[in-house]
Amino acid sequence: MNLVLPSHAMRTLPIQQVATHSAELKSFLFEQTFEAEPGQFVMLWIPGLDEKPFSVSDVRDGRIEITAKAVGPFSRALMECRPGERLGVRGPFGRGFRPRGRGLVVGGGMGIAPLRYLVHRLERDRASFRVALGAHTAPELMYAVDFARVGAHFATDDGSVGEKGVVLNLAERLCADQPVDVIYGCGPEPMLVALQQLADRLRIDCQLSLERYMKCGIGVCGSCCVDGSGICICREGPVLDKAELDRVPDFGRPHRDATGQRRS
């Protein structure tokens, strides 16, 4: 009867280390008790509070890392968590990136986090890839040093790091410079829509990581199902390729909240 992947059942792990990028942006390291691919996510539980989805931002040296930004009650409470405190870390869930050919890695804002793990993986596999990252301001570009090491290109609204402007222009230029087979993208949905359009124009594939409201993470509750195809983002995503994105009519459009109502 064991239908359950042991790593999907609830279990808590002590935080081993907290890396503070800013008061509102931190990485949390846990003992690695499961394998995870770049783009997969975990459900992070603060006992007594809530449980929310977070991408795996790195797996290295027997440790698994997630990186979070304070945006609301849960993530703000997370910023207060200290080493030794036990959090629920279930996963990995979903399907991550499926690297192939010459890649262009494009990240915006918090979307940068899971791309760090992708880049480490691409490096390890000696894949051909370039990286373009954008953020409003320099502090949001966490792990910039790490990314700079692989020659990442940066864009910030204020030009404090890299060029001034949005990451999309950067990405377009990089595509014009050298051929690209696939764009890996993670970030705000409008950016992802623009990347899809770019890929369309260039007739190349893209693999974009989507976010939808998630409750169960295991393809049961239905809250993350997109309209149209009913694709379950927590199970078949969060990373979708171009063919799959074509079956997501609400891509870039209003989608659903905790009650299942569409919100705008």
């Binding site: 009867m1 064991n2 239908l3 359950v4 992947l5 999907h8 059942a9 609830m10 279990r11 808590t12 792990l13 459900m43 539980w45 006992p47 007594g48 509070l49 809530d50 449980e51 929310k52 036990r86 629920g88 409750k215 169960c216 295991i218 393809g219 049961v220 509750c221 239905g222 809250s223 199902c225 997109v226 309209d227 149209g228 195809s229 009913g230 379950c232 199970r235 659903r256 905790a258 009650t259 299942g260 109502q261």
Partner: protein
């Protein structure tokens, strides 16, 4: 002829498999997807008059025996639900069951009237959700009187739409409950809802892992309870039964059918099996019928009630 075709409350289903309420049942597109995967009918997540956000996460957890959940009946409210129903109708012909729940017989009646106007194929009345006790008191499904009143109120308002009452295994006598439902006009019975409630404690922190502390137990762990429940109900009444609980393969479905079920609900099985499970079970059922020389599921139904040596 399709050997898997079954009739239930006047409805013809192409497969006995019915998507159970609460699993992938929130939107027209997810329901349609399950229908396309091979379900004979699909049931919406239970809806109430007003929208409900439900409990915070963790609210659905896998454990080695299946799932434990306290979603807290989150739903966008009946009006939004009916929009989904309309969209589903436009794009999918597979019968649609709408599940409803409310806090009183009167409210159940009003909700049923509103839902019936949208003409679903069946209204399933969730009188047995164990996760909202604190709000609504003990589930109606533990009390034959209360359950009878709800059945009556829904039937009065449902017009021509057939009504199935969804029972819980947790009551003093399922036989009595079934008889009361029939006397009050139920067209079918669904059995069972989740079992328990249960609790799963994270030993790392000593905390109940569900935000609601307790939740309904479902999946493989409850199959024997569901089989017994269906058997008991079948002994007591001749209403169609949607046997539900713990099904994750064709043999499990056959156990429920042999116990007396006309159709078979599948919910938690989707966790391990994905929506592909519906197709797999259909194929397994067809293979069983063929191998054992049965022409249809009707010949298998209720076999467990025969007396003496086979």
């Amino acid at each position: 002829m399709n050997p898997l075709a079954v009739q239930i409350a006047g409805l013809a289903l192409e497969s006995p498999l019915v998507l159970a309420s609460g699993v992938l049942g929130t939107t027209a597109s997810s329901l349609r997807r399950v229908a396309q995967a091979g379900a004979g009918a699909v049931t919406t997540k239970s809806c109430s008059l007003a929208a409900r956000p439900g409990h915070p996460a963790p609210c659905v957890l896998p454990w080695p025996g299946g799932l434990i959940n306290a979603v807290g009946l989150s739903n966008p409210g009946v009006e939004a639900e009916l929009e989904e129903l309309a969209e589903y109708r436009r794009t999918c012909a597979t019968p649609l069951f709408v599940s409803i729940f409310a806090g009183s017989a009167d409210e159940f009646g009003r909700l049923a009237r509103r839902v019936a106007a949208a003409k679903p194929d069946l209204i399933e009345v969730n009188v047995s959700c164990p996760n909202v006790e604190s709000e609504f008191g003990a589930p109606f499904a533990a009390d034959p009187e209360a359950c009878g009143r709800v059945t009556h109120a829904v039937k009065e308002n449902a017009g021509a739409v057939p009504v199935s009452i969804k029972l819980s295994a947790q009551c003093a006598s399922l036989a009595r409950m079934a008889v009361v439902c029939r006397q009050n006009g139920a067209d079918a019975l669904t059995a069972i809802n989740t079992v328990g409630p249960g609790m799963w404690i994270d030993v790392g922190t000593g905390r109940p892992a569900l935000s609601n502390r307790v939740g309904g137990v479902s999946g493989p762990a409850i199959l024997p309870i569901a089989v017994r429940a269906v058997y008991e109900i079948r002994k007591a009444v001749d209403l169609p039964i949607i046997g539900t609980g713990g099904v994750s393969c064709a043999e499990d479905a056959l156990q429920l059918i042999m116990a007396g079920a006309d159709a078979v609900g599948v919910g938690s099985g989707v966790y391990a099996g994905g929506v592909e499970l519906f197709g797999e079970i259909n194929r397994g059922l067809a293979a069983f019928l063929k191998e054992r020389g049965f022409a249809s599921l009707a010949q298998v139904k209720g076999l467990a009630h025969r007396e003496g040596r086979p």
